[in-house]
C-alpha cells in the first residue's frame, strides 16, 4: 500500500492529446481516458454529439507520484491557457508502487 495522487482532468476531446502528452513529458507512467456524456461549467451546458465533435469532453485519469503531480499543477495552467480544463487531485493508495 503506497501513497500516490489521483489526478482527474475534464477537458475537450480535441485537446486530450495535448494533456496526455504533457503528462507523458512530466513523467507520469500512465493515464486513462473516459468518455463524457454531458456537463455544465462556467461556459454553460456542454452536450456532445454534434458532428464536428468539438463539443465533446473527456475525463483523463492519472495516478502518479506526488512529484509528478506537483509538476502537473505548475504546468497545467500554462498549457491549458486559452480553454482551461477542470483539474482535481485526490490522495489514493496503490498496490504495486513500482508501477506508478
Amino acid at each position: 500500500m503506497h501513497n500516490r495522487k489521483r489526478i482527474e482532468i475534464v477537458v475537450e476531446r480535441v485537446r486530450a492529446e495535448e494533456v496526455t502528452s504533457l503528462l507523458d513529458r512530466l513523467g507520469a507512467t500512465g493515464w486513462t481516458i473516459l468518455p463524457v456524456l454531458a456537463g455544465r461549467g462556467h461556459q454553460g451546458v456542454r452536450q456532445g454529439g454534434d458532428l464536428s465533435g468539438v463539443l465533446d469532453n473527456v475525463v483523463i485519469l492519472c495516478i502518479t507520484s506526488e512529484a509528478v503531480t506537483a509538476r502537473v499543477m505548475e504546468a497545467s495552467d500554462d498549457l491549458l491557457g486559452a480553454r482551461p480544463a477542470i483539474v482535481s487531485i485526490t490522495d489514493c493508495t496503490v498496490l504495486r508502487a513500482d508501477h506508478f
Binding site: Q47, G49, D50, L51, V54, L55, A82
Partner: protein
C-alpha cells in the same frame, strides 16, 4: 385524398423529415438518434456523393467546364469570409477570434445541404454537371485559411499588451493536417477518385448502395439534423444575439447570390447554377468547427456551432434550396 401535386418538389421527404425532427425537438419529444448512426449516415452521404460524382466525370465529355467551376468555387470559399468578418466585427462587435471563426464557416460548405439540393434536383429531373462533388470538396478548406489570416491580421500590433491578448502557441503541423486532411475532404475526394477509376461498371455495381438508398438515408439524417438543431439552440442559444441570428440568415443569401451570379457567368447548367448557389450559401458544421477549435481556441465554439447548425442550416434547407433552384430556372 391525393396530396397536392407539386408538394413533393417544393417540400421533398428529406426536408419534411428535417421539419419533423425540428418539431419533435421543440416539443421536447423523447426522441433521439444514436450519435453513431448520425456519424455513419454522414460518412455514407459523403461516400455516395463522391462515388456518384466520380463515375459521372468518367463519362465522355463530362469534364467540360470543370476548371472554371473549380476556380469559382475556390475563389468564393476564399473571399466570402471577408464580408462576413467585416460585418461581424463592424456591426455586431464580435471579438476578433470568434468573428474570424464564424466567417470561416460561411466561406466553407455543408455536405448535407448539398445532398438535399441534389435530391431536389433529381426529383425535379434537372440535370447537373458530374463534377459538382469535386467543387464541393474543393470549397471545404480555402475559407479556413482566410479565417486564420483574419484572426492573425491586426493582432501583430497588440503583442505588447500582455499574455492575455497574445495568440496561444499554435501547433502548426496539427493545424495543417486539420485544414488539408479533414475528414470530409478526404472522404469526398477519395470516393470521387474511386468512382472515377471504377467508371460505369463500378457505378452499376455500387448503384443499389450509393443511389437507391440515398433518398432514404438522407431522410434519416435530416431527421437527426432537425433534432440536433434544436439541441444546439437549447445548449448554445443563449450565446446568440438577435444580430447574430440575423447574420445567420442574411449571410447565406449573400453567399448564395454570389454563387448564383458567378455560376451563371461561367455558364454552368441550370442544375450546376443551383448547386453552386446552394454551396456558397451553406455553412460548414463538420470540418470548419474542428479546425477552428484547434486554431482559434479562444473563439466561442458554442456560438459558431450553434449559428451554423441551428440557424443557417435550417434556413438553407427550408428557404435557401427552393429559392436558388427557382432562381436558377429549375
Amino acid at each position: 385524398m391525393a396530396p397536392v401535386p407539386d408538394l413533393l418538389a417544393l417540400l421533398p421527404p428529406p426536408v419534411m423529415f428535417f421539419a419533423l425532427g425540428f418539431a419533435a425537438g421543440l416539443l421536447r419529444a423523447d426522441l433521439s438518434v444514436p450519435e453513431a448512426l448520425a456519424r455513419a449516415l454522414s460518412i455514407y452521404l459523403m461516400v455516395a456523393i463522391g462515388l456518384k460524382g466520380g463515375a459521372a466525370l468518367a463519362s465522355p465529355g463530362a469534364a467540360e467546364g470543370l476548371w472554371p467551376a473549380l476556380a469559382l468555387g475556390i475563389g468564393l470559399s476564399f473571399l466570402l469570409p471577408l464580408p462576413a468578418f467585416l460585418f461581424l466585427r463592424g456591426a455586431l462587435r464580435i471579438d476578433r477570434d470568434t468573428a474570424a471563426a464564424i466567417s470561416g464557416h460561411y466561406g466553407s460548405v455543408s455536405v448535407v445541404t448539398y445532398a438535399a439540393a441534389a435530391g431536389t434536383l433529381t426529383t425535379l429531373g434537372v440535370a447537373q454537371e458530374g463534377f459538382m462533388p469535386a467543387i464541393l470538396a474543393a470549397m471545404e478548406t480555402p475559407a479556413i485559411l482566410t479565417a486564420l489570416l483574419l484572426a492573425r491580421i491586426g493582432t501583430g500590433g497588440s503583442t505588447g499588451t500582455g499574455a492575455t491578448s497574445a495568440q496561444p502557441r499554435l501547433n502548426a503541423g496539427k493545424l495543417a493536417h486539420e485544414v488539408l486532411l479533414n475528414g470530409p475532404v478526404v472522404l469526398l475526394l477519395g470516393s470521387f477518385l474511386i468512382g472515377f477509376l471504377a467508371g460505369a461498371p463500378g457505378r452499376q455495381q455500387l448503384a443499389p448502395f450509393t443511389e437507391a438508398l440515398f433518398p432514404g438515408a438522407l431522410c434519416l439524417f435530416l431527421l437527426e439534423m432537425g433534432l440536433m438543431a434544436v439541441r444546439q439552440l437549447r445548449a448554445g442559444g443563449r450565446g446568440l444575439s438577435w444580430g447574430l441570428v440575423g447574420f445567420g440568415i442574411v449571410m447565406p443569401l449573400i453567399g448564395g447570390a454570389a454563387g448564383l451570379l458567378g455560376a451563371q457567368a461561367i455558364g454552368l447548367s441550370t442544375g450546376g447554377v443551383a448547386l453552386m448557389a446552394v454551396l456558397s450559401g451553406s455553412a460548414s458544421y463538420i470540418a470548419v468547427p474542428a479546425a477552428m477549435r484547434l486554431a482559434l481556441p479562444r473563439a466561442d465554439a458554442g456560438v459558431y456551432v450553434t449559428l451554423s447548425v441551428a440557424v443557417s442550416f435550417p434556413f438553407n434547407i427550408l428557404v435557401g434550396i427552393p429559392l436558388w433552384v427557382k432562381l436558377a430556372g429549375g
